[in-house]
């Protein structure tokens, strides 16, 4: 996922910690006899480690022996590994997985179910499977400050249509030419902004521009760790402009027994984007270990009871 490179330094810093943590935690299956061994991998950014830990710990609680290969690399590393059977499972993102496995054919849409179905049609011949997509989503999103939200009582992107001409949009310099950005906001939602400010894609410039009021609407990623801290609110993409990058487990068919599927679907069913923001914040900003954060989440949400 190219859009994760912004937090590469964080990832690098966390790599040591998380790998070390993964080595000592995780394999704590309560049962005496293992139901089998499952190897869970994650991409090289914190959110993927958290998701992999969620899946892994839920499976371990169910009696499987779980091996972790966290921070394995980009999709270019992880996908071949699952194809060759070196790993059994990784947390994917529906639209991005689809566009990877179909070699960028542009089949992904804003509909998570349809996108996942399409993804499965490509995965089948590879002996892989995408399970039910979660409601939790890590995709391009447009955020406003809490003050702006309160001033215009905004909840979703359609709310911006009547007042867009009073607001300045900030995003990467490519925004005016990309269908998911300014042109898409115009055609799908009918939003025309007062002005556009070329900043960066969800980086320090966007944060600074929010802070000093240069922009009122900015492009962010929906599960960003610091959204809460910055007082930013993501507006709901009610007309599905963005591709559905919902969290979805990609698993080898031979491993995807009904029991495993049930465990993973249960985790995904409970997970929300807000949960991701909180957990990403705990790992990226408070520097907690991904396995501890995942464990605390599963305990809080009664997965271990």
């Amino acid at each position: 996922m190219i859009r994760k490179t912004g937090s590469m330094w964080l990832t690098a810093a966390l790599a040591v910690i998380v790998t070390a943590a993964a080595a000592c935690g995780g394999t704590n299956s309560p049962g005496t006899t293992s139901k089998g061994t499952i190897t869970v991998a994650g991409f090289n950014f914190p959110e993927s480690s958290i998701l992999a830990e969620l899946y892994g710990q839920a499976l371990a609680h169910d009696g499987y022996t779980v091996n972790y290969k966290l921070l394995l690399g980009t999709r270019e590393v992880v996908a071949p590994a699952i194809k060759s059977g070196q790993i059994d499972l990784y947390p994917g993102y529906a639209a991005t997985e689809l566009e990877y496995y179909n070699s960028g054919a542009g089949e992904a849409t804003g509909d998570a179910t349809a996108t996942t179905a399409k993804l499965n049609s490509h995965l089948q011949s590879l002996g892989l499977q995408a399970l039910t997509p979660s409601a939790a989503v890590d995709q391009n999103a447009f955020a406003v400050t809490k003050a702006t939200q309160a001033k215009y009582s905004l909840t979703k992107l359609s709310d911006l249509a009547p007042i867009g001409n009073q607001l300045v949009l900030g995003a990467g310099p490519e925004c005016p030419t990309r269908p998911f950005c300014a042109p898409g906001l115009k055609t799908t939602y009918g939003i025309t902004f007062k002005d556009f400010k070329a900043l960066d894609t969800d980086g320090p410039l966007t944060r600074a521009a929010f802070k000093n009021g240069t922009i009122q609407v900015g492009l962010v990623f929906s599960s960003d760790a610091d959204l809460n801290q910055l007082g930013l609110v993501v507006l709901q993409d009610d007309k599905h402009l963005e591709n559905a990058d919902n969290v979805v487990p990609i698993i080898r068919q031979t491993v995807a027994t009904s029991e495993v599927t049930t465990v993973l679907n249960k985790v995904d069913a409970g997970l929300t984007t807000a949960d991701l923001v909180v957990m990403n914040g705990q790992v990226e900003l408070l520097h907690q270990d991904a396995d501890a954060v995942a464990q605390a989440y599963l305990q809080q949400h009664n997965y271990f009871s």
């Binding site: 990467g172 310099p173 070329a198």
Partner: protein, 235 residues
């Protein structure tokens, strides 16, 4: 050559000459950032260089310190200043001012040191006080070198001001950064061309200013002796 043609078409497109992303707006932003930086740089650098050159002390120290300034990359200063001061023109002006100072310090120092000691002696002998000697004898003689320093600074600053776009600033660099992000290489090339042309235009116009400022006596020194003689007669 295809790229040159498309760049020319891009430059000729009236749509690119209006609005907040039009060439006139970006040009004014670029000149404003550069002008502010060179002006602030001159206010800092010229008194230092001229003072040290006049008194002939600490010259090596000043030149060495300002040369260290040359070694610090503008992009580095830009990013650090952005971290400290946030979004806006201030970090850009700081980075460009730091770039503008060294050539002006060095040149004005050398310019004052190079004034013929005999001329200074003569001035003192004619009863000029220190300040009068500096302003009425030394500075006019030092103008060509001082102006060369200002010119060097200004051209460097105009060329480097394109970096402003990297921290969301305006100016002609916007086309370069946006063109790259949008994979619109025509725009990128056009931006680079505009910056280069503006730098050359800066050089040329400051050269013109220099011609106006240089005292006639020095200008005459550079003309061939034969013509100089007749000019003196008629003057």
């Amino acid at each position: 050559m295809a790229i040159l043609e498309s760049v020319m078409r891009w430059l000729a497109d009236p749509a690119h000459w209006q609005g907040s992303d039009g060439i006139p707006t970006r040009l004014v932003e670029h000149l404003q950032l550069s002008g502010e930086s060179v002006a602030i740089g001159a206010l800092i650098a010229l008194p230092i260089g001229i003072g040290l050159g006049h008194f002939g002390r600490f010259g090596n120290l000043a030149i060495n310190i300002s040369n260290v300034g040359r070694a610090v990359p503008s992009f580095g200063i830009l990013v650090i200043a952005f971290q400290v001061f946030g979004l806006g023109d201030l970090p850009i002006v700081i980075a460009l001012t730091a770039l503008a100072i060294p050539p002006m310090v060095t040149n004005s120092y050398v310019a004052l040191r190079e004034v013929d000691p005999d001329v200074k002696d003569a001035a003192r002998g004619m009863g000029y006080r220190r300040m009068a000697q500096l302003f009425r004898v030394e500075l006019p003689l030092a103008v060509p070198l001082i102006m060369a320093g200002i010119r060097t600074s200004a051209v460097q600053v105009v060329a480097t001001a394109a970096l402003a776009a990297l921290i969301a600033g305006g100016g002609l660099g916007r086309y370069i950064v946006d063109g790259l992000a949008q994979q619109d290489y025509t725009k990128e090339f056009a931006g680079a061309l505009l910056v280069a042309v503006l730098a050359l235009a800066t050089e040329a116009s400051l050269w013109g200013v220099q011609q106006l400022l240089v005292p006639r006596g020095i200008r005459l020194l550079k003309t061939p002796a034969s013509r100089r003689a007749t000019t003196f007669k008629t003057a």
